[in-house]
Amino acid sequence: MSEGTVKQFLYVNRKAPHGTIYALESLEVVLIGAAFEQDVRLAFMDDGVFQILKGQDTNGIGTKNFAPTYNALGDYDINKIYVEKESLDERGLTEDDLMALTYEDEDDDWAEKSSISIVSRTEMADLIDSSDVMFNF
């Protein structure tokens, strides 16, 4: 790895959780990737917004419930999470329906702040355009 290289990473999350493993295995990449000190952003759009919906409980289907793991992202210094408004609208969802993903801001006396920004489809396009690497799963 070239020392000191910092790239704009964008993880593009477009798939629903549970029905397939892509969301879970994508989250595993994000967690491992946190150690590499890149500029990391997560984008949730289309059915990907369902990944961070509140109140998921997989007991009945017997699979691993990885939803709580998103809460740990703030501790990994991953706090730039972009959720597309149009995708929420289409599914009848609002920001209040999403998990309250937060981080502690070390530049502001460790105040707890929201990691989530709701963005338009146009802003999402800008985000993709300004990224150095896009991870798609």
């Binding site: 029905g19 059915d47 997989t58 007991n59 289907i61 699979t63 599914r91």
Partner: protein
């Protein structure tokens, strides 16, 4: 006896639900499971299609899949939540099962 149509895909991602509903004859049933349960959400772009279908077709959703996805409080009124035993019962009581993969 009528057909039990099963749908396991999100209506926002694929056309399976639309297709199942378009083919399900009056008196038959549609069971949503796996990511198909997202089709049970009220207030979404897919809801009108489902509510319209419910005039002629009975719609069920697998409760375990609804819970997994955190959408229990959003399910359209009139969609019946069932467990795996009831899924088996539905499969037995209908003439056949058509899986819209």
């Amino acid at each position: 006896m009528a057909i039990l149509h099963t749908v396991n895909k999100s209506p926002f991602d694929k056309n399976s639900l639309e297709r199942a509903i378009g083919t399900a004859k009056e008196g038959s049933s549609v069971l949503l499971l796996e990511d198909g349960v997202y089709g049970a959400i009220s207030g979404a772009s897919s809801s009108a299609m489902v509510e319209d279908a419910m005039k002629t077709v009975k719609v069920y959703a697998l409760g375990a899949d609804v819970d997994a996805r955190g959408i229990k409080g959003r399910v359209i009124d009139g969609i019946e939540l069932v467990d795996y035993a009831a899924f088996v019962k539905l499969a037995a009581e209908h003439s056949q099962v058509q899986s819209w993969l």
